[in-house]
């Protein structure tokens, strides 16, 4: 039988199943195979906070979306072209996102009366015609997997566990992905469990063969590699890029990296990743709580290490007082907040950008800190090094506001050459007479980084207000006023690059201004709007405190400034108060990134206003 091969420019696939079905792994593998084929891509994992919600329920559905193309990709895609649904719950939870004509692949074995009832289907959607406007492939994935593995000495339950590899094999065939890297991955992962390895490899192969031989699938698809700048690439998630950026900062600064952290979703993966790299001299300390995590990092920084703490919103709230101490001690400290839905426990596994004002103002007294935000997963690598540069140069706490979308999402990354990384070496205070711990560098206003072990500069510092220069306790009114203003001036004077504006025609009246993880959907929307003949400008803030020096001029140039944020307008508050500029907010707090279409529509509304 000859099969048709169709060339596509782009595809969005969503893998969905029970949280125990291995959908994140399946998505990850498909992503790696797609990346190694040279397609640009963007991913969006979406999973429940419960580790194992009751099986087969809507609450337990976990999904992984991947958008890949023969051209540059900005987002994980608005609507999937293909949905792989491992059970009725996965179908029901995701069908509303599918455009008509989309392809649905389901495990028909799971569509039993019991499972259908569990999620409120009165009739079987595979049979009642409700899916007629989709291309549906009902495949008995479970039973075919079990049959294929019948030669192995596995229980039925164990055999069933490999059905995700069957699905992966089928999709691998459908989209002409290479099989070697998944095979290598399985070989490594299950090296010590030969039975499980054999089962996974066989299920993967059987899925691939099923696509190749069955008449159910008459078409397969090719997506040509994306044109990318020459170089060596790998796929990378935000949390791993952040960890690598910190290790690179440690190397480039010749400082010991100390991470104090308390486990919290979605930041824990940075702790996990760094704890693997002890040979770089990295110390990871899992503290007893969030306060001890940041306290230990500050203590290490006092001793001359690159002190870092990682957390999410609720943890940041607990760290506030210690960050205030860091402001007072004027020591370098990096605080990474991987934001999630709030307030309180909120939506632990979902994304949001609502900690901006907490990072800016969530401490007692006048307590300014530097605030940075990466735009995409790979950008975390550079932002981590930038945070280290600023923290060590100015001896200030620096926030990095990542979020769940950036942290777990991934994209291809051109691996930098070590020679191209910045020199981050620092100078410590040396032995001297009459040492003044709060004398300042006139350019940066930084005080000396005076570490214990240095003879002759023994001194005492603390959270009580300091006298200028000597650092002794001072309750003098004029001195307090001076010190408060000096700390503020130091942060305001941090050197950051100018904001670049993308305004190709130069005549746009509307500026789309974003920060953090909204970069992808905004860029995709701007691209689409311009293709439609609309004139819009785009700019993205990575430096939020201090703002780039040219930001005021940029804002003044445009009639309307639209700021999409996954909060109720926090950047807008900062912009309005600092520049007296009217801002049009576009705000959503649904725990999900913006879709491209939403931003297009919001922008059109302003353009037509």
């Amino acid at each position: 039988m000859s099969k048709t091969v169709v060339s596509l420019h782009q595809v969005t696939i969503r893998f969905a199943g029970d949280s125990g079905d291995g959908m994140q792994l399946t998505g990850d593998r498909f992503t790696m195979d797609t990346a190694s084929l040279g397609n640009d891509l963007s991913t969006l994992p979406n999973f429940p906070a419960e580790i194992r919600a009751p099986q087969g329920t809507l609450a337990g559905v976990s999904s992984f979306q991947l958008h890949f193309a023969d051209h540059h990709v900005q987002t994980p895609g608005d609507a999937p072209d293909v949905l792989v649904a491992m059970n009725p719950a996965a179908l029901k939870a995701n069908i509303k996102d599918l455009p008509r004509g989309a392809t649905i692949i389901v495990d028909s074995d799971e569509f039993t009366t019991r499972n259908l009832t569990k999620v409120g289907y009165e009739t079987n959607p595979l049979e009642d015609g409700s899916l007629d406007s989709y291309k549906v492939h009902g495949i008995p994935l479970t039973s075919m997997t079990v049959t294929a593995l019948s030669e192995l000495t596995l229980s039925r339950k164990e055999a069933e566990r490999s059905k995700n590899m069957f699905a992966l094999g089928l999709l691998t065939w459908m989209y002409h992905r290479p099989t070697e890297s998944t095979e290598n991955f399985l070989n490594a992962k299950f090296a010590k469990k030969p039975e499980v390895l054999a089962a996974n490899l066989l299920a993967f192969k059987t899925g691939w063969n099923y696509g190749e031989t069955t008449e159910d699938f008459s078409v397969s698809y090719e997506i040509a590699p994306t044109k990318m700048a020459p170089g060596k690439y790998r796929n990378i998630s935000g949390n791993v890029a952040m960890a690598y950026g910190l290790i690179a900062a440690s190397k480039q600064s010749e400082l010991k990296l100390f991470l104090g952290s308390y486990p919290i979703t979605p930041a824990s993966d940075i702790l996990h990743e760094l704890s693997k790299h002890k040979k770089f001299g990295v110390i990871t300390f899992q503290a007893e709580d969030e306060i001890a995590a940041v306290g230990s990092a500050l203590g290490a920084a006092y001793g001359g290490a690159l002190g870092v703490t990682t957390t999410s919103g609720p943890g940041l709230a607990l760290k506030a007082e210690m960050i205030g101490l860091a402001v007072m001690l004027e020591l370098p400290l990096i605080i990474i907040d991987v934001q999630r839905g709030g307030p309180s426990t909120g939506l632990p596994t979902k994304t949001e950008q609502a900690d901006l004002l907490q990072a800016m103002y969530g401490r007692n007294g006048e307590s300014p800190c530097v605030v940075l935000a990466p735009a995409t997963p790979k950008d975390c690598f550079n932002i981590a090094m930038e945070a280290a540069r600023i923290a060590t140069t100015y001896r200030v706490p620096v926030f990095i506001l990542s979020d769940g979308y950036i942290a777990n999402g991934s994209e291809p990354w051109k691996i930098p050459e070590q020679a191209d990384l910045p020199d981050l070496r620092v100078e410590f205070a040396r032995t001297q007479e009459n040492f003044l711990p709060y004398a300042r560098n006139p350019e940066t206003l930084a005080r000396p980084w005076a570490v214990p072990g240095t003879k002759g500069i023994e001194h005492r510092i603390g959270g009580v207000e300091k006298a200028d220069k000597t650092g002794a306790i001072s309750y003098d009114p004029a001195n307090h006023d001076f010190m408060v203003r000096t700390r503020a001036a130091k942060v305001a004077g941090v050197s950051v690059p100018d904001l670049e504006v993308d305004d190709p025609t130069g005549d746009a009246k509307v500026l789309l201004l974003g920060w953090g993880s909204t970069f992808g959907p905004i860029a995709a929307a701007v691209e689409a709007l311009r293709e439609n003949g609309e004139s819009v400008a785009q700019a993205h803030l990575k430096y939020i405190n201090p703002f780039p020096k040219n930001l005021g001029d940029v804002l003044a140039k445009y009639d309307r400034v639209v700021v999409p944020e996954m909060n109720l307008g926090q950047l807008a508050i900062l912009l309005r108060s600092q520049y007296m500029k009217d801002i049009t907010g576009y705000n959503q707090v649904r725990g999900l990134p913006f879709s491209t279409l939403e931003i297009i529509e919001a922008t059109m509304a302003v353009l037509n206003d």
Partner: protein
């Protein structure tokens, strides 16, 4: 010990000491300043870290490195510093409110990990800096500004708490007993890992004479049970014996000398030292003074740094270029 010939004066900073007249903190400060030269360490390798409270002003008065941090959190800063800088000697200065109330969590975790910290807990059984509220070590029924009808809380016994966290070195001393406090500081300094010294400290303003019974020349002899390793545990009037496996304080004239428990601070089972800690409650009738427990256990910072050294020994030092291009990669020409 070394060729360093430092004196008490070398450890005295230029800051004016600002505690209330008669405060027990003065004698502790003086004893510590006199003791420090004995360590034989250069001043720059010693760091004192405190929290908040009267006692936490301590670091300002010592000519070493020091941080006066925030309430209850001194052990967190000290832990980060001690792990990343094993070359330093780190002291934590804290009080009963700082260590046992707001900072209770950090204290027990530092002790269970056995971080190389010498923790001096000044216990005056009252909140001094905030002007006289009851503390977690105040006796039940304490009438203070915040408890006009008497406090309802059962107090902590700091020694029992530390032993519950399996601290490897736990001792008690008294602010005014310079010799005993010096001996105890010496023993703590020789210990590798966490050492907690509870120091009974008088607050003349808000809780004066709380410890008079163990300080007064007339009463201290009978009120304090001396814990000396290898010696029978006794006061001038009483001794400690085992009765059906439990410790009991009995008049000396009611037992043979040979029946009195001979103190072994190195006893691995913490229940021995715990039983000792239970001999006195807040009423201070028979108060054990000295080192309750001094046992060996690997020090946390050493363990952390060993893992790193082992990783480097077995895999070689980290190569950044290799790390960045690890995993699945592909080349675009």
């Amino acid at each position: 010990m070394t060729d360093l010939t430092l004196t008490k004066k070398d450890f005295t900073s230029d800051q004016e000491v600002k505690w209330c007249p008669g405060c027990g903190d003065y004698s502790i400060l003086s004893t510590v300043q006199s003791f420090l030269p004995e360590l034989g360490l250069p001043r720059e390798n010693i760091v004192f870290i405190s929290g908040i409270g009267c006692s936490s002003r301590f670091p300002y008065y010592l000519e070493t490195f020091g941080i006066h941090s925030i309430h209850g959190r001194a052990p967190t800063l000290a832990t980060g510093l001690a792990i990343s800088r094993p070359d330093l000697t780190v002291f934590v200065i804290t009080g009963d409110g700082d260590a046992l109330s707001i900072g209770g969590n950090h204290l027990i975790h530092a002790l269970r990990r056995n971080v190389n910290l010498k923790i001096l807990l000044f216990n005056n059984r009252i909140y001094g800096l905030t002007k006289g509220q009851y503390s977690p070590t105040s006796e039940t029924g304490k009438v203070t500004k915040s408890t006009p009808a008497g406090s309802l809380d059962t107090p902590f016994n700091p020694i029992s708490l530390a032993l519950g966290a399996e601290a490897t070195f736990v001792a008690r001393s008294i602010d005014s007993d310079r010799k005993h406090l010096t001996d105890t500081l010496r023993a703590a300094s020789l210990h590798k890992g966490s050492a907690l010294i509870e120091i009974y400290q008088n607050c003349p303003i808000f809780n004066d004479d709380a410890y008079q019974i163990v300080k007064d020349a007339d009463t201290k002899g009978s009120a304090t049970l001396q814990l000396v390793h290898g010696e029978p545990i006794k006061s001038q009037t009483h001794g400690v014996i085992f009765v059906n496996g439990a410790m009991k304080v009995v008049p000396l004239d009611s037992v043979q000398e040979s029946e009195i428990v001979v103190h072994n601070a190195n006893t691995l089972d913490p229940s021995y030292a715990f039983a000792l800690s239970r001999l006195s409650g807040s009423e201070l009738v028979h108060v054990p003074i000295g080192v309750f427990r001094d046992v060996e256990r690997a020090e946390y910072g050493g363990l952390v740094n060993n893992q790193i050294a082992e990783a480097i020994a077995s895999q070689g030092a980290g190569d950044l270029a290799k790390l960045l291009s690890s995993g699945d990669t592909w080349e675009v020409k």
